[in-house]
Amino acid sequence: MALTKNARIEAYINDVCSQIKFREVHPEIKLELEAHIHDIVNDYLSKDFSEDEAVDKAIAQMGQAAIVGKQLNKIHKAKPEWSILSISLFFVITGLLSMFFIEKQGLFTTTPIHIFICSLVYTIIGVVITTVLYLFDYRKLELYSKQIYLSTILILVFVIIFGQRVNGKPYLDLGLISIDIVKISPILFSISLAGILKKWIWNKPKKFFQGLLLCVIPLILILSGGSITASIIYTMTCITLMIVSGAGKRTFLLMLGLLSGMIIPAVTIYPFKLAGLIEFINPGSQTFSNGYINNQLSLLINSSGPFGQGFTLKSNIMPPGLHTEFIFSYMVFTFGWIAIGILAALAVIFIIRMSHVARIAKNNYAKMLISGFITIFVIQFLWNILMNLGFAPISEVDLPFISFGGSQLIFNAAMLGVISSIYRRRNISQTLIGS
């Protein structure tokens, strides 16, 4: 190749790019135009033109830089994935309204906090986080995969040893707020493992065991943190990431066996969880409070109708956690089956739209990231709804965006932000390389 870098070609390409406001597409557009111009130049060089003439002709043939740039700018303007964003906003508003009415009906009297005002604050924080992450290039996250993995491990170890335990679960106390780190750790591990396992070579024995270890260590910690729910969510996410990263059927079946082999004995270590499970299998045996909760929930749900009972719920039939895990039952009772049907349909559309983003995204890391997130969202929605209906064991799984809770809302908003960031950059296939 006669010419590798030519000042005039570079200037032309820079003129084109200067018109394109979305800077992250510049590298790929530069590469594409460069290849084209070099092809024309080589063509002329082979016809015995001098290099200067060839470059002149090539640039003339490309057309005015400003025009090409302006047209490209129009195409690469930001078009957020509005369906996913508006469905989440709808969920958030539904949650806020529910908090408002729960408080107004006097159903929430146990602790002196204003759940509506708190939710409003969390919502504002969530919107800010989604916006910031949307603007942030998600590909930068990949560079920090190992750091995110290690720091989540370290925080978990720290919290398990020194953290304040509430209901057997350690919290990360940051002064103003305390974060349920065990509950949200599957999200952090999902982000980090998406980067780490992206190109994992599962069929080499050494790599295979390393991969296995990377997946198992977080599970051990989450289990020590006392959350069966989080460990199940983590396991499912891990398996999804393994499948997407190209681990064969045998590999992930082995993993599934290994991981569930760890969860099952853990269930027996925590007797109250076991009791919950027994009650779920055999509802007659009301050994622990979960049986009571299940009864209250079915009372609530069965007394609803297609249009709901309005704001008539009395505090004497209210199960604990009505504003958190059991908000679904409150909404069924209050707003009725039709409204809840619409809500469930929207949840399905939400998941389908996310899968669509995973399908069209060019970058493999993006596909891994979204697959993990989809798994987390699907389990949250399914488990929460099924347990409210009495078809799944009672656990601490929230209804995403709707249940009361800062950690829940903010971290779901963060996943939403990353997904929006991927959608914005879906046509960029290049991976960022750390310096």
Binding site: E32, A35, G63, A65, I67, V68, Q71, L72, I75, I360
Partner: protein, 114 residues
């Protein structure tokens, strides 16, 4: 002979789609093919091909991928998607209808002049 710019504008999308319907290509190759097949009738500023390609990709009609090693020349190839080939079929039908209608009127006029 040079054709009217407006006429060219309306047909570039169908040209690009039908080229890619045969095989995946990169931009420069597309220009060469169009030039060759049209005997030089279709000549346009080559840079303006890319806005067309990028917008077709944004609409999901075509998709792109990179070939070539990093460091050496990398080329961005485009291939047609299912949505794109469906669109092409519609556009082809549209074009045939349009062309025969224009032909009828033009040849009718030609007879009238005779």
């Amino acid at each position: 002979m040079k054709v009217n710019k407006e006429l060219l504008k309306g047909s570039t999308v169908i040209l690009v789609l039908s080229l890619l319907n045969r095989e995946p290509m990169y931009g420069y190759k597309m220009i060469k093919e169009i030039e060759k097949k049209s005997n030089g009738v279709f000549m346009f500023k080559e840079g303006t091909l890319y806005p067309i390609l990028h917008s077709l990709e944004a609409d999901g009609m075509i998709e792109s991928y990179w070939l070539g090693n990093e460091g050496s020349r990398q080329r961005k190839y485009y291939r047609i998607t299912n949505k794109g080939s469906n669109c092409l079929k519609e556009r082809e039908l549209e074009w045939v209808t349009f062309r025969s209608a224009v032909d009828k009127i033009l040849t009718g006029e030609a007879y009238a002049w005779l």
